[in-house]
């Protein structure tokens, strides 16, 4: 990969980050309402993706157990408690 290609890809990446945050106008009205609803579904979706491999299989059991632990304590609505819940997995208590 040439330096020019790295630079172009870096520009594309930064441009995509800056476009909505700094260039495009602030969304308003109904669009803002829709955007305001999106974080929870996006995070739930990202969590789901991390549990499914690119081959379409579920990830390993210990990771599923850790995720289940985090899910069980999710009503507490705390990142710290999520991590504690995930430690219910024996895998996380004693990493190999």
């Amino acid at each position: 990969m040439s330096p020019l290609l790295v630079a172009v890809i870096a520009l594309i990446t930064y441009g995509s980050r800056a476009a909505a945050l700094a260039i495009l106008p602030r969304p308003s009205g109904r669009l803002e309402l829709v955007l305001g609803r999106m974080p929870a579904p996006i995070f739930a979706s990202l969590a789901t993706l991390t549990l499914i491999t690119e081959e379409g299989a579920l990830t390993g059991g210990p990771i599923l157990v850790a995720s289940l632990g985090a899910l069980l304590v999710s009503p507490k609505r705390s990142l710290a408690v999520s991590l504690v819940g995930a430690r219910s997995s024996p895998f996380l208590r004693a990493p190999p």
Partner: protein
Amino acid sequence: MTAMTFTGSARVIRSILITSLPAAGAIAVFGTLYGAGAQPLLGTPMTIASSLFIFSGALQFALVGLLSAGAGAPALLLTAGTLNLRHLVIGAVLRPRIGGSRLRRAGFAFTLLDETFGFAVSAPEEAGADRTLFVSGVACYLAWQVGTVIGVLGAGFSGVERLADAIFPVLFIGLASLAATTGTLVVRALAAVVLTAAVALLLPDIRALAPVIAGALVALPGPSEEAPSSGEDQT
């Protein structure tokens, strides 16, 4: 008064750093995997330069995969464009929470990742979304650079790769629980889980876009909904 403000700021920044630490640690581990995997293909200078300037784990891993399969520049650029589309959506979600001049927001944009987006939208009022985005972004950026260099040097965090694998689902579940402030948002999040699983299984080529596709679809207003009149149902 100034000393009190400084103490308060330091406390807030420390709190943001503590919250970001597990993600930054996992990012460092993935950085070592990236550094070790990319170095034979890109060489040491380009591997380090890619992390310094691109700073996107998903994209950089995809580029290495494509390069190892013999892909050319058009495929790499297309992949970069496609994978970065999600930034338009998460940036738009974050935009109302980030104030200040265009230049200031452009500066913050460099630190926009899935993880820092999560920290920023769920940041307490005292911390502020912009400060959280910046502080957690710097922590993740440094972790990615350190990890890359360690990987390039042929070292690594032996035995913790699988632990790092577990951090991200746990992190995103925790962030989802923070963002799901109402019952309807919980239902929308569960619908997004189903949609994402369907995309990942049935359309694996676009799985990287599944979060924004699912997030947008489940957030759409129902036919009976009027234009917004209050902050209800928002995070």
